[in-house]
């Protein structure tokens, strides 16, 4: 193979087309790479693909890299085994944050790169495990792509694949064909799929759907999900008790109407109209205070926050609530839809419940509950009987009746031990906010918002509650301090970052160092 040329020699300026695929394990990135290679070879081009799957196969992110070049007689192309930043023509990203990763790796540049990406999200562990909302903002990717890419093709290729009974590699391949960035005929793509031999018909169907989609509507706007739907206040319901509630809501400043209505709806559903009236009684007092301390200038932010978190606090999760939700007809329908049950199939659900004695005494009338709780030996003995995981088959008559009866205990809820405790805890929180309100409006609003930390069941609930108590206890220290409200907000955010409260400890230390 030794070759000697005389210098200077003439160098060819031919360049291969470079294609990078970013996929996660299990997304079929390898299949897509194989198809591209086959389409190129079918068209008389030379193709080289490579990848580094390794452990990334297990849910990690992997890059597949392909170079293609027309065959030149008598010459053998030397192709690269890895992409060079700034030197990639097509990037295919099988998930939206992977598109972000391709941009971060310099694979997408405005002079050359067509970015073909699915807009769906598959959240990483780091995003999912946060006690709060750890989901990355997709608009950051949208903005970066606008700067980095020469051309963008972006839509939800995952659901398009699912609708067509196939997987995302087929729709990505269709988008690549539709984008017309490679000099191959559609038939070459089809031949590549057919030669693959597995699941050819659904793959072709998804391929074509995506091909057409790419030609007609290559780009979907990306909207971050989680947009809240605020209910519109209806004129009337035809039911006196409900209409009376509507009338009361209308007496509030308009900016609070939607949230108040959401709260009222929730509480009527949770308990009854009387309970919703109780909520509005509290809200009346809150509004009075809000107005008295300059709320009008702040769009009644205090009332708005209270409308939300007071409703959440009053609708605390208890056994009765869970039994009620689990036995509803609407829930049975939703499960059927979610699981995708066909008409000729049957479905049964099993609930995983683990009641403890605390829940039982909590549901008892306050005096009885306290009686048992104050006798540790008795409590322990009863707990032994109760505290056990139970698999509740809601679709069977016996279990359904059990839950049905439990849900019927709604009427006794307000006399129950748990209710008294919840209300006391709630009152302390409201009092703290109301005390601060005259001295530091913004801080008082943040005190209300910190109620977000109370959530979950059993241990998780206890941890959330203790974080909430710690954050709440810090409020008096922040009164009147510059940035007091901002710090309150930071404490809340820190508390939502990890389970053990490490970030919260850190935030407290910082505050102490600033204000000590």
């Amino acid at each position: 193979m030794t070759r000697h040329e005389t210098f200077p020699l003439r160098l060819s300026t031919d360049k291969p087309i470079a294609i990078a695929i970013l996929a996660m394990g299990g997304q079929g990135g390898g299949v897509l790479a194989d198809w591209i290679v086959a389409a190129a070879e079918h068209s008389g081009w030379i193709a080289q693909s490579t990848s580094v799957p390794g452990v990334a196969q297990r849910t990690g992110a992997t890059i597949y890299y392909i170079e293609i070049l027309p065959v030149r007689e008598g010459a053998e192309a030397i192709l690269s085994l890895m992409p060079t930043p700034g030197d990639v023509d097509v990037v295919l990203a099988a998930e939206f944050m992977e598109a972000g990763r391709s941009i971060l790796r310099g694979l997408v540049t405005p002079e050359r790169t067509t970015l073909i990406t699915s807009t769906h999200r598959s959240f990483a562990v780091g995003e999912k495990e946060k006690p709060g909302d750890g989901i990355g903002d997709p608009l950051t990717v949208v903005e970066a792509a606008g700067i980095a890419a020469k051309r963008i093709i972006a839509f939800d290729m995952q659901s398009l694949a699912e609708t067509n009974g196939s997987v995302i590699s087929a729709t990505m391949f269709g988008a690549l064909a539709g984008a017309d960035v490679l000099p191959f005929d559609v038939s070459a793509y089809e031949a590549a799929i057919s030669a693959g031999g597995k699941g050819v018909a659904p793959s072709l169907k998804a391929f074509h759907a995506s091909y057409l989609r790419t030609r007609e509507e290559p780009r979907d706007p990306v909207v971050p999900d989680g947009a809240k739907v605020l209910p519109v206040l209806p004129a009337a319901t035809g039911h006196a008790a409900l209409d009376a509630l509507l009338v009361r809501i209308r007496a509030f400043p308009e900016s609070a109407h939607a949230m108040l209505f959401a709260g009222v709806k929730k509480l009527v559903d949770y308990q009854d109209p009387a309970y919703a009236n109780e909520y509005l009684d509290r809200m009346d007092e809150i509004l009075r205070n809000d107005i008295a301390h300059g709320g009008a200038a702040k769009d009644h932010a205090f009332t708005q926050s209270a409308a939300k978190y007071l409703a959440v606090s009053m609708a605390y999760d208890d056994v009765i609530r869970v039994a009620d939700l689990k036995t509803r007809a609407s829930r049975f329908d939703r499960v059927k839809k979610e699981v995708g049950v066909k008409d000729d199939q049957l479905i049964y659900t099993t609930e995983y419940m683990h009641p403890r004695m605390e829940e039982v005494t909590g549901t008892m009338p306050a005096s009885l509950g306290r009686f048992i709780e104050s006798r540790p030996a008795l409590f322990k003995a009863l707990d032994k009987v109760v505290n056990r995981g139970r698999r509740v088959k809601t679709g069977t008559i016996g279990w359904f009746l059990t839950l049905y009866v439990l849900a019927a205990m709604k009427g006794m809820r307000r006399r129950a031990l748990r209710h008294g405790r919840e209300m006391a805890h709630l009152q302390h929180w409201l009092d703290t906010a109301l005390t601060i309100l005259p001295r530091d409006y913004d801080l008082a609003v943040e005190v209300l918002n910190s109620r977000r930390l109370v959530k979950g069941y059993s241990d998780t609930h206890a941890r959330g509650q203790s974080k909430f108590d710690r954050v709440l206890a810090a409020a008096p220290m922040l009164i009147g301090k510059p940035d007091g409200a901002v710090w309150m907000q930071r404490l809340r955010q820190a508390a939502l970052l990890d389970e053990d409260g490490t970030a919260l400890d850190g935030a407290f230390k910082t505050i102490e160092s600033i204000y000590a």
Binding site: P85, G132, G136, D225, D317, Y352, G389
Partner: protein
């Protein structure tokens, strides 16, 4: 049998003279072995060479026809020892593994093999797991070649070159009576390319012939005085023979002009990256023309002093492109030049980075400095280099750093190891943190979020051994985790035997998922499937009891989180002396699904009553605290935002990829999380009895639901 079929790849092995092979590098090597008349092949699976093993395991017919013996070796040491067949008999043998991890394990046998030397060609195919995508320590296999004086081939990443290297390797081995290592990097193993195939060749001398005509030669055994003779023989006979063969067969290649002021010496494996870098600098083209003289070392050990001298004489400077560290080749070059008093400047790791992958941009940087120092004129009109930095410097692009998440490897959907670590997490909550020694295998993903369990990993099957120092009086016991792969590879003797003998009081958790799962789901001794070619179904519990372990607990269903938790707690707190061994068994879900899914579909099609389970979350019960996710990390358990204005944080959600393993429910129950999980049992082809029951239940439940709905006051939706 591994649950994945390689039937299509097996077809590629049957290609004959003149036919075009199209496929992966590692499969090209597999085909090349058969074309070279190999008699036996062994090895230990692992990325990036697993496919060689997998395809041969599925190729019984092809192998039988050729009379080739193939074995899935128990470990790399077993594979290396297998090459002993080529010591006295003229049979060609090849073994393969991931390196340097596997070479470390194999080195005892390799040293002995290399000392006595071989008669038949002995080829060691090394999957060099270095650089991006690697799963092991970043080291070089080169050192093993040097210390044992085995020859090291590093062919250009180009299928015809790799195939040629296999054939050359056997011949070189025979010509110099020395085992030969063939190094292929990760990307090269997975590169898709083509070459013109040749017919497969039956070995001219069979293993049967050897067995029936045994030979013995005392001078080949590593014992004094032969051992001293071996060293002499290596230096005086085998090395010169190798040099002669490499020279005469021109195994190393020259590209570019014969003359030049400067030149580049490179490992064969670096060729494509070097060419791309030169192309960026306007000094080469995509068809292999180069304006700079290149000396390509397809053999990186031994080096051919004369060739080096010839290449360097008359040049102002050369640069050595040698990936990985330390720079063994560069050091040798320097000795060669110094000894011969050749004053060509030598560069290498002074201009290129000391470690890490030599990508085209890295090489462009080094070459630019090299040319600017020694041959400014060749750079001429520099074409603009590909450069992403203007894009990357934009603050709106930089903002991505805050949102693009890490994607650490994790357990697959429904993995049976997940509940084990969920249980460990619960025990940690009760008894506090413990020292956890990990091993090699899927279970090692526990060290990553969300579990964050595991302090060290010391090697395959060495987990419990790596906790052996902690055998002292203490209020806490150490925990060592080891997979079934590691157990059979090395763990039974090195870890369990060691623990029993030394009365190690810690806890040893053996994760038995019926396969060597991390390497691709190959069968092992304790696999539950019947494998006609292997002996499976050998119990791990019997094995550990057989070597004297007393406190042994078997858990047959790892998804029983409460039992798992209680057993772990018992092991950590019992007064009985250790080692406390827990064998936790459930089938690898990836492989189980490959096996079960088609069966399920078939049964449904045939009209049989089948039940599919999957999990779901009642989103109005979920409060979005994600405690369940912190005890799971399952890909199918995710989160979603709701439009409920009263809910700030996303709620848990399970998608359709859920395989109904049960972990979510078990964890929710054992950890007393929340009642929002449900298991849905979907009955396909229900029986008349099913339908009757469903009608009755539906009638009663429906009546009650309607009754309550009527009494419930609601605002219209």
């Amino acid at each position: 049998m591994a649950e994945r079929s390689f039937a299509r790849e097996v077809e590629d092995l049957k290609l004959g003279d003149g036919e075009i092979f199209r496929g992966e590098g590692i499969l090209a090597i597999t085909k090349a072995l058969l074309q070279s008349g190999v008699s036996y092949v062994g090895g230990y699976q692992g990325s990036p060479i697993s496919h060689l093993m997998d395809v041969l395991a599925d190729s019984k017919d092809v192998l039988n026809e050729l009379g080739v013996h193939f074995e899935s070796s128990a470990s790399e040491a077993a594979a290396a020892a297998m090459l002993s067949a080529s010591v006295l008999y003229p049979v060609r043998g090849a073994v393969t593994w991931k390196s340097t991890a596997g070479t470390n394990v194999a080195s005892d046998a390799l040293s002995n093999l290399a000392s006595g030397g071989v008669t038949g060609g002995a080829l060691i195919i090394i999957g060099e797991d270095y650089g991006e995508g690697s799963s092991i320590m970043q080291e070089r296999s080169h050192a093993f070649a040097m210390k044992s004086q085995m020859w090291l081939l590093d062919p250009r990443p180009h299928l015809p070159s790799i195939v040629q290297a296999v054939e050359n390797g056997f011949e070189l081995s025979e010509a110099s009576n020395t085992p030969v290592m063939l190094e292929v990097r990760i990307r090269t193993c997975h590169v898709h390319g083509q070459f013109v195939a040749k017919d497969n060749k039956k070995p001219p001398y069979t293993l049967r012939q050897a067995l029936e005509n045994p030979r013995r030669d005392l001078s080949r055994i590593v014992l004094p005085p032969a051992a001293y003779m071996h060293e002499k023989e290596k230096l005086e006979k085998r090395w010169p023979a190798a040099v002669e063969f490499i020279k005469s067969r021109k195994l190393n290649e020259h590209f570019g002009p014969a003359e030049g002021d400067v030149g580049i010496i490179l490992q064969g494996g670096m060729y494509n990256s070097v060419m791309r870098a030169l192309q960026f600098l306007g000094l080469a083209d995509v068809y292999g023309e180069s304006a700079i003289p290149l000396y390509v070392l397809n053999v990186t050990y031994p080096l051919i002093d004369d060739e080096i001298a010839e290449f360097c004489i008359g040049k102002t400077a050369v640069i050595m492109v040698e990936e990985g560290q330390p720079e063994y080749i560069e050091q040798t070059l320097s000795t060669v030049l110094r000894r011969r008093d050749i004053n060509t400047k030598l560069h290498g790791k002074d201009m290129l980075p000391l470690g890490g992958e030599y990508t085209a941009p890295v090489l462009v940087k080094g070459f630019t400095e090299f040319f600017e120092t020694h041959a400014r004129s060749v750079l001429g009109n520099r074409p603009p280099l590909p450069d992403a930095s203007p894009t990357l410097d934009d603050p709106r692009v930089k903002a991505l750093n805050a949102v693009v998440p890490q994607r650490p490897a994790g357990f697959c959907t429904g993995c049976p190891e997940r509940p084990i670590f969920a249980a460990m997490k619960l025990v940690e909550g009760e008894l506090g943190q413990h020292h956890v020694a990990a091993d090699i295998g899927c279970h090692l993903f526990s060290i990553l979020p969300p579990f964050n369990i595991g302090a060290t990993t010391m090697g395959y099957g060495l987990g419990p051994a790596s906790a052996s120092a902690f055998n002292v009086e203490s209020d806490k016991r150490s925990i060592a985790v080891m997979g079934d792969g590691g157990f059979w590879h090395n763990g039974l003797s090195t870890s369990i035997g060691n623990a029993v003998y030394n009365k190690q009081d810690g806890v040893i958790l053996i994760v038995d998922n019926y396969y060597s799962a991390a390497t691709g789901g190959q069968d092992i001794l304790s696999s539950r499937a019947d494998n006609p070619n292997r002996t499976t179904n050998n119990s791990i519990v019997d094995a550990v009891k057989g070597i004297g372990a007393k406190w042994v607990r078997q858990i047959d269903n790892t998804y029983d989180v409460a039992k798992m938790r209680d057993t772990l707690k018992e092991a950590l707190t019992t007064k009985e002396p250790g080692p406390h061994i827990i064998v936790a068994s459930s089938e690898c879900m990836l492989n189980k699904q490959r096996r079960v899914k088609p069966l399920f579909g078939k049964a449904v099609k045939e009209g049989k009553r089948m039940v599919r389970e999957r999990f779901g979350v009642d989103e109005d019960v979920c409060t979005g605290d994600h405690a369940c996710i912190r005890l799971s990390g399952c890909p199918s358990l995710s989160v979603k935002h709701t439009d409920d204005p009263l809910k700030d944080d996303p709620v848990a959600a399970i998608d359709n990829s859920c395989v109904g393993c049960g972990n979510c429910g078990e964890v929710a129950e054992a950890a007393v999380l929340c009642p929002s999980f449900y298991r849905a049992d979907v009955i396909y082809n229900p029986t008349p009895h099913d339908r009757f029951l469903a009608r009755v239940r539906g009638a009663v439940i429906g009546f009650l639901q309607r009754r309550r709905d009527r009494s419930r006051l609601t605002f219209a939706h």
